[in-house]
């Protein structure tokens, strides 16, 4: 803290102002808190490296510690969703933008976000193979079962039947959007990629409570 020069502080404030205007979900104070949190997570670094941002490992750490996520694959996908420019680092801007959806997104924004998480190859469709991959570990395997994958395959079929409205064997964004609007529990059907209410509350309380410290 004693290293925080006046210039640094000013920088942060300016950044906060810019970002909060762009992102609209957080006000200036809240944006400031998030930036400080971001800086804290990166650790004691020089100006140059701060410019890069959070790497995958540190980001997954946050997801795990603060939001209780445990699934490796999903956490990876979340990182990808945050890291929009695909440079393997989450910059401060990507951090704020991502959190705005994560913590306070509208249903529309959340649908888009989840779809991006689930679309493993980024081709705009969630295919059967991708679904299989995500659901692989969700059923308990019986030791006597002949084909342990059969249960998952059935599950995938049921899903496709329920959500594939244009009947092309895969879920387009429109399919996903329509299905979630009909039944909002389907939003995180393929994996928990959003925090639950308790975690959000705890995070906000912790992050926003003392704006001048971190």
């Amino acid at each position: 803290m004693s290293e925080m020069s006046a210039m640094n502080r000013k920088l942060i404030q300016n950044l906060a102002e810019t970002l909060s205007k762009q992102v609209k979900r957080f006000n200036k104070t809240e944006a400031e808190c998030l930036i400080r949190l971001f800086n804290g997570l990166i650790g004691d670094q020089t100006e140059r490296r701060v410019g890069n941002g959070l790497d995958r490992g540190k980001f997954r750490n946050v997801l795990h510690k603060t939001f209780g996520m445990t699934d490796d694959m999903i956490m990876d996908r979340v990182f990808r969703a945050f890291d929009k420019d695909n440079d393997s680092y989450v910059s401060v801007k990507e951090w704020i933008e991502g959190l705005s959806v994560f913590l306070r997104g509208t249903l529309d924004e959340k649908i888009k976000y989840c779809f991006d998480v689930y679309d493993l190859n980024g081709d705009g469709y969630i295919s059967r193979e991708e679904m299989f991959h995500m659901l692989k570990n969700s059923l308990i395997r019986q030791p006597t079962e002949e084909d342990p994958d059969e249960g998952i395959k059935d599950l995938v079929e049921i899903t496709v039947k329920k959500m594939d409205h244009d009947h092309d064997g895969r879920l387009s964004y429109a399919d996903f959007d329509k299905a979630v609007r009909e039944e909002n529990l389907l939003l995180e059907a393929f994996g928990t990629c959003l925090p639950d209410a308790k975690s959000i509350q705890a995070f906000e309380q912790h992050a926003f409570q003392e704006p001048l410290e971190h």
Partner: protein, 566 residues
């Protein structure tokens, strides 16, 4: 867990497998909100099946659902309350809900502001929570202990507030609950004092027949109390009730409406207004081709209206007498009580009596004396009195009922006070005809009446004294009454506070005093002082009878003295 989520959603489309209930209920016990929501969405739908309800209750689902009501998540609260509403449709479930603190929590859900013009999204959610709470309470309120529990949890003011809502889907469960609970006096009082009558009346004019029915039902139950009857009139509720009589295809609505009209008719001012709105004619029209639950109320209403002479004429002119007499042949006890009352009231008009007689109505009334239900017996006996008073050749008519006199005298053996009073009143009328008096004397009416004299019930005392007075006028009945010990108790009647008792007793004593032994008994019992007070009364009949009695006593004393000195 997320997968169970997915599977549940698709299960909704699949055939409901009852074996899935254990799983669903297990999910309710998890900490995952989404699991609970998913599970409840399904349970809510399938709990409409009565077997599944029992199964859910057996598996302890209700306890879990009650705990979920504590959750801060509003969607969860709504779903849980709605599911409880479905499951609590049988008695054991309702008890379980109460035993686990469910009533208290459901009442808490009702706390919201329902009627501000522009609601925020949060407030709208609160209103939805309240609506679901009301649905659950409605199901639960069928148990008496739950009604009490709702009241103790402070539910009544909250229900009163929700009653002001403009939304029908909120009003229906709220009024449904209120009308269910209105069987308890504490609720009826609260409905009056919390200003709910106004809202109930207002909603009588809405478009929704189910809501109208519940409002009418609530009014039906509450109008037992005079204050409610006045309030209904004050808030112009009588006209909408009469209009609702037009919706005669909806039998439940019709039953509720006629019920409300019946109870409101207990107040004369309301009857006057009903007359203006031509309700009587409509009611007479409803005397045929209606289910029993409607008829009971229609006849009840007519019976109350017929307490006014002008209305009796209206009933006659609308052709109401024949259907009423026809209903005397039914078997529904409640209906019979009301019909006899109505017919009795109408029979006080000679033109009505002529029709009743022609249609054999008196014989039908008489045979109702054989009905095992004492309320029916009493009501029939009361109705017989004006019939005898107003029929042509009443004595002849009574004699024509084979075994009729014996039947009615035997009713003096009943244990029911109302039956006894009504039969005495009837006997007092029968005994006006000398031949019939002879017959009932033969049937042992004197000792039976004498046996009844040891009573403190003023109604019975009055009619008993009237009967004794009349029966004295045959043969040696006077003496027989004295020997049967009827005289001394009668003297005590003069200490009653009821002036009609005084009048009847004085007349009886006057008749009895024509027998010397009775005079002695009376004098020994201190009757003179009491009668002298009565002589100062403004009631002429009382004055005359008292004076006559004292005179007889005095004459006997004088004759005694004369005999001694001669």
């Amino acid at each position: 867990m997320r997968d169970f989520n997915l599977a549940q959603e698709t299960c909704q489309l699949a055939i409901r497998d009852v074996g899935g209930l254990e799983v669903l209920i297990n999910l309710l016990a998890t900490d995952e909100i989404k699991c609970k929501i998913g599970s409840l969405k399904i349970l809510k739908k399938i709990s409409q099946n009565s077997q599944i309800r029992r199964a859910i209750a057996d598996l302890g689902g209700l306890q879990t659902m009650v705990c979920i009501l504590d959750s801060p998540d509003k969607e969860l609260k709504c779903l849980s309350a709605e599911t409880i509403a479905n499951v609590a449709k049988f008695r054991r479930a309702r008890r379980t809900v109460r035993q686990h603190g469910g009533i208290k929590r459901l009442v808490c859900l009702l706390d919201c502001v329902p009627d501000s013009a522009a609601l925020t999204v949060e407030q709208e959610r609160d209103v939805e929570v309240a609506r679901c709470g009301a649905l659950a309470l409605w199901s639960c309120s069928k148990s008496t202990r739950n009604k009490e529990a709702i009241r103790r949890a402070g539910g009544i003011p909250l229900l009163a507030r929700l009653l002001k809502s403009p939304h029908e889907n909120m009003l229906i469960p709220v009024v449904g609950t209120l009308q269910e609970c209105a069987s308890e006096k504490s609720y009826r009082v609260a409905i009056q004092t919390e200003g709910m009558v106004e809202d109930l009346v207002k909603n009588l004019s809405c478009d929704n027949q189910e809501l109208q029915m519940h409002c009418a039902s609530a009014i039906f139950k509450c109008a037992e109390d005079k204050r409610t009857r006045d309030l209904v009139r004050h808030y112009a509720g009588l006209q909408p009730l009469v209009s609702l009589l037009g919706k005669s295809e909806n039998k439940q609505l019709l039953a509720a409406t006629t019920g409300a009209i019946w109870k409101c008719s207990i107040s004369m001012e309301n009857v006057a207004m009903f007359k203006e709105y031509k309700a009587l004619e409509i009611l007479v029209g409803l005397l045929t081709n209606q289910p029993e639950e409607v008829l009971v109320n229609v006849v009840g209403a007519l019976g109350e209206c017929a307490q006014q002479p002008a209305n009796r004429t209206t009933i006659y002119k609308s052709g109401g007498i024949p259907p009423l007499v026809n209903l005397l042949t039914g078997t529904n006890q409640a209906l019979l009580v009301n019909v006899t009352r109505a017919v009795g009231a109408c029979a006080t008009e000679p033109e009505n009596m002529a029709i009743i007689d022609r249609l054999d109505g008196v014989r039908l009334l008489w045979s109702l004396l054989k009905n095992p239900n004492p309320d029916v017996q009493a009501s029939a006996a009361w109705a017989i009195c004006p019939c005898i008073e107003n029929a042509k050749d009443a004595g002849e008519m009574v004699r024509s009922f084979v075994g009729g006199l014996e039947l009615i005298v035997n009713l003096l053996k009943s244990n029911n006070g109302e039956v006894l009073a009504s039969v005495c009143a009837a006997i007092a009328n029968i005994a006006k005809d000398e031949e019939n008096l002879a017959v009932i004397t033969d049937h042992g009416v004197v000792p039976m009446l004498a046996k009844l004299t040891n009573t403190t019930d003023d109604k019975l005392r009055r009619h008993l004294a009237e009967a004794i007075a009349r029966c004295c006028m045959w043969g040696s009945n006077r003496v027989a009454f004295g020997e049967a010990g009827a005289v001394a108790p009668l003297v005590r009647y003069l200490r009653s506070k009821d002036p009609s008792v005084h009048q009847a007793t004085a007349q009886a004593l006057f008749q009895l005093s024509k027998g010397p032994n009775n005079c002695i008994t009376m004098h020994e019992n201190g009757v003179v002082k009491l009668l002298i007070e009565m002589m100062g009364s403004t009631d002429e009949v009382l004055q005359e009878a008292s004076a006559g009695c004292v005179a007889n006593i005095r004459r006997l004393a004088l004759a005694n003295e004369k005999a001694r000195y001669s």
